[in-house]
Symmetry: C2
Subunit: 170 residues, 2 copies
């Protein structure tokens, strides 16, 4: 009988991990994503669609290939995101006169409105998420997250991290 009812040997592993930044980041991030997603779907958009609209807003008309690479989605997936957008008139697809294989995706007026509405909803969610923080705490958190993200994306995009990045399968 190893340890019937006595967690004798080692100190509480779980409680120690409960406040570990990694786990909290993962868990809170999950909750945050859930809420953001809900905010967007309430406006009739998937997160990906929001991302696409944002890209079009900031960069002007783009071909689908560009959108696909920017948003890191397979072309075949992107199509399924664009179809409802076009059907709802948030976006138009017109053939690129220079290269008639391409579809230029253009953000419409209605699309801009929806984008703004969704962005506002997202802002609300965010304010609610961090309502427990003071302004300075919130910007502190932002700064720290920026540091972590920039480090990670650097490691990702430059070469690959020494430790254990490019793990695809298995």
């Amino acid at each position: 009988m190893t340890s019937a009812t006595s967690p004798a040997s080692s100190p509480a592993l779980l409680d120690e991990h409960r406040n570990s930044p990694g786990l909290m980041l993962a868990l809170l991030g999950h909750e945050a994503m859930r809420r953001l997603r809900d905010a967007h779907t309430a406006k009739g958009l998937t997160p990906r669609q929001f991302h696409v609209l944002g890209l079009l807003h900031d960069r002007g008309p783009l071909a689908q290939t560009d959108l696909a690479s920017e948003t890191d989605t397979a072309a075949s997936v992107l199509v399924t995101q664009l179809n409802p957008l076009e059907a709802d008139g948030l976006v138009t697809r017109t053939r690129d006169p220079r290269d008639r294989r391409r579809h230029l995706v253009v953000l419409t007026e209605v699309g801009q409105q929806r984008l703004r509405a969704a962005a506002a909803a997202q802002q609300e969610v965010e304010d609610d998420l961090f309502r427990s923080l003071s302004d300075s705490q919130r910007s502190q958190l932002t700064q720290l997250l920026v540091l972590v993200r920039d480090d990670l994306t650097d490691g990702n995009e430059h070469c690959g991290t020494p430790t254990s990045l490019d793990r695809k399968t298995s």
Copy 2:
């Protein structure tokens, strides 16, 4: 050279949101979860299984109902997590003499070893995630995340947030 076809009206929405704490939290959390998950599966555990083992470690033998409620999983799901654990000898199921309907789930020696190994791997992942932060920055981040989490779980478990919690179906 702003843009090809004039996103004239409003300022860059996307770039503004790129550094928003909510989005970063969601994205980084996603990445963190992916890495933690990978660390655990490399040790042959699902995150849930890790959670279960941790609970057993800290609280001693538990009945499945207790495990289910603690980990917030349906009983029928818990079973599918426990089966491989028992098959691998990380855990034993014995009938509770007091209530022979119950199965007392006990963490074995091997289970403890696996748990510790997985915990170590998780620690590694975490150190890698936050390698860009100094010690004080890291504990700052931890503190801020604790604040946010405690506020959120309070709102969740006490009553329900005023804004928009209990959204089940839509």
